[in-house]
């Protein structure tokens, strides 16, 4: 079992004819994802490696029954692409694009919510369910193993690090979601935790946060109130200076708020097993599972 993506996913790629769009669409298909079409305005009627390309999302959806999209269009056009997908009735919108203006993100979030759709990202690696051979994103598929750990993270490569440590210890994953490092994102830590809690295929959860904002504190509160499965946590950036943006638009300690120390404390107070070192993500999970057994 898995959450959000799996055997029933029928994926399109918006921006399929760009270099990255093409590369990653083909990598997703090679992993096992059912890629049904691509969309690039003006390129309708062509094909990318026999995947049909349409001019509009609504046409792609009508012709192929697509229910998910992966967006690679440049930041300046990303908000429009997200709105097009939501309006066409696509249920799951995975926006990989980075560098989108924050106010566009706030507008996107409202549109997606009003349409009853779900967005993952933007500025994220995407989502993967190894047991169902479904990858919608840019993560390296080969580090993942099918299993029963759910992973939710604001980071990309740090998530790969965690997944690799898990796989090395034989801890496979049900679904891994990279929710993105921007100030406004579609699917939050809390949304993901709620889905993992309800998923019979998920036995324990890893939550990776970073400095900036209060999402980790809110997620910790949610874990305390609603999650009965073991949760392991990590927060990147305990050595980050205040007032400096650390790569991600959302990773900034502002006005003394959003420090790693506060977030780790909130996690511990909620009964989450916090890994002190990024080298201990796998072993902390193994211990959390053993403690429960």
């Amino acid at each position: 079992m898995s959450i959000l993506v799996g055997k029933d996913t029928r994926l399109i790629t918006q921006g399929i004819t760009g270099e990255y769009g093409r590369l990653h669409t083909l990598a997703c298909r090679a992993y096992g994802t059912n890629v049904v079409a691509g969309v690039t305005p003006g390129r309708g009627g062509s094909a990318v490696d026999d995947i049909p390309v349409y001019d509009t999302v609504s046409e792609a959806r009508e012709k192929t029954g697509a229910n998910a999209t992966m967006i690679f269009v440049p930041a300046a056009f990303a908000a429009d692409a997200v709105e097009e997908a939501a309006e066409a009735g696509i249920e799951l919108i995975v926006c990989i694009t980075e560098g989108i203006p924050a106010l566009d993100e706030a507008r996107m979030k409202r549109i997606v919510t009003a349409a009853g759709a779900r967005m993952i990202g933007p500025n994220c690696p995407g989502i993967i369910s190894p047991g169902e051979k479904c990858k919608v994103g840019i993560m390296p598929g080969f580090i993942h193993k099918p299993g029963r750990i759910g992973v939710v993270s604001r980071s990309g490569t740090l998530t790969y690090e965690a997944v690799w440590q898990f796989s090395e210890l034989g801890l496979g994953q049900s679904t891994c979601i990279g929710i993105g490092g921007d100030p406004v994102i579609g699917t939050t830590h809390i949304d993901s935790l709620a889905l993992f809690q309800e998923d019979d295929g998920t036995e324990a959860i890893l939550m990776i946060g970073e400095i900036g904002g209060t999402a980790e504190e809110e997620a910790a509160q949610f874990v305390r109130d609603h999650v009965t499965k073991p949760v392991v946590g990590f927060v990147a950036g305990r050595t980050a200076p205040a007032g400096k943006r650390m790569g991600h638009a959302g990773a900034i300690i502002a006005g003394g708020k959003g420090t790693a120390a506060e977030k780790m404390e909130a996690m511990r107070a909620a009964g989450i097993a916090v890994a002190e070192s990024p080298a201990d993500l796998g072993s902390t999970m193994a211990e959390a599972l053993a403690a429960r057994a």
């Binding site: 840019i138 200076p241 790569g247 080298a279």
Partner: protein, 386 residues
């Protein structure tokens, strides 16, 4: 991207907001002339630097004559102004804003920013103008009023009125005060700001509503659609290394330690700094080469790291996804040779094409210490520099 006060006020005026009459001056003579042109007795001379806390640091002075204005200019121009925000070295003052003095009746605090938790821009206001908002938030959080700003429509007029009445703005000024709030929200949205702060927004004894101060941060991600605003960037105020890194597509932040870090991905880059510290070392920088760096970018990254004289060793930590380890390895080898690198270098490569990458490092004949995982990498580099 930060704007100077005088730039923020220019933006405010473009949206129909009132600011004090003022002139920007970059010499003592120009300050004297500005004072004369303003024509009143009371004027204010304000240092134009990005750091906050200028007032307490002596960067804002009331003057009552041209000589006094010139004296203040003499004391500030070309000198470093150290505030509690800009570190021990301070910032060189290159420009002064000379403004008319106003008969202030009452000071308010107003700001618009993105509320990440609620995923919407919000207006924050308090009747305790002139005080820092963090201080008010600590002492009397109930004194800060909040209203949502719709990311498309802006600040609804009823919300602007509600805040205005709650702040106790005198009735004859209420309409102008509410209109000011609506225009500030419009400036925030249309300029793609990440923060607009007016502290204080004042009412005057002759019944005007004026933005006495102005602070504006613009969203870097939105500058592509505001070419005119991009020109307001003042690179004198930025760390030259960070500017160079940005031009090369790298994300770099200088820190106080002696272990340089080169990592792909922001989260992993922070985690790498963290693990160095956990093992008793001190990171010299945050450096994210991004998801798909070229061999040239890796070389530039090395140059930037080595430009910091404090660096005694370098840790490269790459988890290849899109990025292939063999390309990174080639970049590391090229850079090491080209720069004649002498300090200890520990390289941890994992992920896509890692075997090929490790082989390139081994066969290079260079003194590169490989590490199999993050713990080993951190242990080795900390040992090497101590």
């Amino acid at each position: 991207m930060k704007l100077h006060e005088f730039q923020a006020k220019e933006r405010f005026r473009a949206y129909g907001l009132s600011t004090p009459r003022g002139l920007v001056a970059d010499s003592v003579e120009a300050v004297r002339a500005a004072y004369a042109e303003l024509g009143g007795e009371l004027a204010v001379v304000k240092a134009q630097i990005h750091a906050g806390g200028r007032g307490k640091a002596g960067g804002v002075k009331l003057v009552r004559s041209a000589d006094e204005a010139a004296g203040v200019a003499e004391a500030l121009l070309g000198k470093a102004l150290v505030t509690k925000q800009n570190g021990p070295d301070g910032t060189i003052v290159r420009r002064l804003l000379v403004e008319e003095g106003l008969p202030i009746a009452k000071e308010y605090y107003v700001a618009i920013t993105l509320d990440r938790q609620r995923e919407t821009p919000i207006l924050m206001a308090s009747a305790e103008g002139g005080t820092e908002i963090e201080e008010v938030a600590e002492r009397n959080p109930g004194a800060i009023l909040r209203e949502d700003v719709d990311p498309v429509r802006g600040l609804a007029e009823f919300r602007a009125r509600r805040v205005t009445y709650a702040l106790g703005v005198p009735k004859p000024l209420a309409r102008a005060f509410a209109a000011t709030l609506v225009k500030l929200a419009r400036a925030f949205l249309d300029d793609d700001a990440s923060m607009v702060e007016v502290n204080p927004l004042v009412t005057t004894k002759d019944d005007r509503v004026i933005c006495l101060d102005g602070k504006m941060l613009l969203d870097d991600n939105a500058l592509f659609r505001h070419p005119g605003l991009s020109e307001l960037r003042d690179e004198n105020e930025e760390d030259p290394t960070e500017v160079r890194a940005k031009a090369a597509g790298l994300s770099y932040v200088n820190l106080d330690g002696n272990i340089g870090c080169l990592v792909n991905g922001a989260g992993l880059a922070m985690a790498t700094m963290d693990i160095i510290k956990l093992h008793g070392g001190e990171p010299a920088n945050f450096l994210d080469v991004g998801g798909s760096a070229s061999a040239e970018q890796v070389t530039t990254a090395f140059k930037i790291i080595l430009g910091d004289p404090a660096v005694k060793g370098i840790l490269v930590n790459i988890f290849g996804g899109i990025m292939r380890c063999d390309i990174v390895a080639q970049g590391v080898v090229d850079a090491t040779k080209a720069l004649g690198l002498e300090c200890p270098l520990v390289v941890r490569l994992h992920g896509t094409n890692m075997a090929e990458g490790r082989a390139i490092l081994e066969s290079s004949g260079l003194k590169i210490t490989p590490a199999g995982n993050m713990r080993e990498a951190a242990t080795k580099i900390v040992e090497a520099v101590s």
